[in-house]
């Protein structure tokens, strides 16, 4: 039984990394733009579909497809920001963004349905169904690679935020839009690029999700509630918080599923979420000042 718990912890950590990858863009977009991007789930699925097309029609390795899908989703993100988000008034941006991004999600879902239909698909590669035996556990390669990818991409995001001039501009815009404009930062440009980056990173999450789950155009809606939960627990705007919250959520759910029953997993997690938010309404790593903007 002890090994079952240990296995649950390992599974939770590995799958948590994948969820962090999918949630990072969501928390970044909210942190900078006060936009709750309901379309994040469908963007993950769009990333999975793009990887599917490239791997099936051009024989590309799943991880190699990211060379194309990440820039492609960056362009999609920039386009969505330019066509829809930029036009939202600052006053009720957050509330309106829920409606607008929901509409964007429906549009993209419709487009995917037209192109691919509603049949379930899954990404296949030699490392998807295989695993390595370490310390008595079979660890699936796809989750190991996905976790490594999550660490690399989240680290890169962190570096962009804290080691580059763009990151300084972004954080300035995050702290105080007006002050940032006064010192010459083009906040609109920063927001557009940030939205693009936030969507681009979901391409990686989508690829790993598509390799570990069957998906169809509707699968994004199952994801978005979990992703929102992760960024709320981690603290809106905190990339590190998203990683910690994703790991915590998946480990807790997996352990409860083994110890009690899968039925209790979600309930226990939400109970813990309520307790955490009661004590720290801004989430584990969120800043009250960020949310007050």
């Amino acid at each position: 039984m002890g090994s079952a718990y240990a296995k649950a912890v390992v599974d939770g950590i590995l799958t948590g990394g994948v969820y962090a990858l999918m949630a990072a863009g969501l928390t970044l977009i909210f942190g900078v733009m006060d936009i709750i991007n309901i379309a994040q789930g469908i963007m993950v699925i769009l990333g999975a579909y793009l990887s599917y097309s490239l791997s099936v029609h051009f024989g590309m390795d799943l991880f190699a497809t990211l060379i194309i899908t990440i820039p492609a989703l960056f362009v999609v993100g920039v386009a969505v920001e330019w066509f829809f988000m930029r036009r939202l008034a600052d006053r009720d941006r957050t509330a309106m963004s829920i409606l607008v991004t929901y509409a964007v999600a429906i549009l993209i879902e419709g487009g995917i349905t037209q192109v691919y239909g509603v049949s379930y698909l899954q990404l296949h590669a030699s490392y998807v169904d295989t695993s390595v035996h370490i310390f008595g556990f079979y660890l699936p390669y796809i989750y190991l690679y996905g976790f490594a990818l999550a660490i690399v991409l989240l680290g890169a995001l962190y570096a962009v935020l804290y080691l580059t001039r763009f990151g300084q501009s972004l954080r300035a815009a995050l702290q105080d839009r007006r002050a940032a404009e006064l010192i010459g930062i083009d906040v609109d440009r920063v927001r557009t690029i940030t939205f693009g980056i936030g969507i681009a990173v979901t391409a990686a999450g989508g690829m790993v999700f598509g390799a570990t789950n069957s998906f169809n155009p509707n699968s994004g809606y199952d994801l978005i509630s979990r992703l929102l939960t992760i960024v709320i627990l981690g603290g809106l705007g905190s990339i590190g918080g998203a990683l910690v919250a994703a790991l915590f959520m998946l480990v807790l759910e997996d352990v409860v599923a083994v110890a009690w029953s899968p039925v209790w997993s979600t309930l226990v997690f939400f109970a813990v979420l309520v307790v955490v938010l009661t004590v720290r309404p801004e989430g584990l790593f969120g800043r009250a000042a960020t949310r007050a903007q």
Partner: protein, 432 residues
Amino acid sequence: MILKSVVEKGVGKLTGMRTKTNGARGLLLAMVVAAALVAGAWTSGSRAATTCIKGSGKTITIGASLSLSGDFSADGQAFKRGYQLWVNNVNAHGGLLGCKVALDIVSDASSPAQVATNYQKLISSDHVDLVFGPFSSLLTVPSAKIANRFGYAMIEGAGGAPAVFATGLHNIFDVSLIIKNQLITSAKFFAGLPKSLRPKTAAYPTSNDPFTEPQLPVARAIMEKAGIKTVYANVFPAETTDYTPIASAVATTNADVVMLGSVDVPTVSAFIQAFAQQHYNPKAFIATAGPDQGADFLKAVGSNAEGVMVPNGWYYGYANAQSRAMVKAYVKQFGGRPADINADVAEGYAVGQVAQAAVNATHSLDQKKIISYLHSGITLQSVQGAVKFDSLGENVAAKAFTFQWQNSKPVQILPPGDPNSRKPEFPKRAWK
């Protein structure tokens, strides 16, 4: 204006006071109009019966709500094809009562709330002549209640769970297999194996869905009676997106047989993938739904489809002349291989056939006559075989088969002794 005045006066008399505001007047008017609409709709079934007679050139409209998006979208689309194929066939042979048949299909996005609204609209606003069922037991319950309210027969092919018949409604007719009996054939097969071959342990993970949950206890009782020990029996939420911990927990039991209560392809493919990753190879893996979805299943799991079993009442090679004709028509219209056909297509087609038989036998679209005819104990024929309804609307004539994926095609393996059953692959091959 006259109507409004009469309403206001009438209500004023009844309540002993005058209506005071425009809002209140509007509300009262809306209530009366709604009541009038409902009353109109109530009689639409019998009215339609007199408007469509042979040679009149009229069209019979059949309404259905299907899950064209949402969780059940793959099944909903397959059902739509089944309904459409049947309509094409009927129209090619002169229609119903000499009238052309048309479908009025609306999408419910797999939502139990939306499906009720849709049937309300189809009956009371669109005034359809007949209604066909939605996909899944989950959506059939609210749909049947709405249809019953308007006196319509609810002929359906994917609402066979006990929860559907527990409503006690007299208007439900499920043309498919009784759900709770689906796994009996395979459970008896395992239980009846010689002791040296018989599985010693079994695991029963299931989604908390009205379609899946009733099936496993029936099979489990048969297996346990034969000495097959239960090593895992847990329910997981239908909303689960990460099946890894559940599949890992099953893998650690090393059960000889896994009976999975699943409603769709993603659940089954997630378990197969996790089992393969854990190097866990049960001797038999049977899922209540998912492997019955033809090409959709194969696309998702690839070569690991080999050896996977599914209980059902139909597959593409079903030895039935009507079924063979439908398969031929399907391939002609939609392309692909016969083995790619989703079993939902046959369920939808059978719904049309049963409705057709009832309308032709009663020479009418009168809902009371149709319901009475279907409850008369008559045995009808469909692409899924015989159909005979008991007092609850369950198809007591349906036969349970078990199919297994062999060489990228589903083949019938059970019941044993059936001339069309092939040798089961047991134990199944290891995952690739």
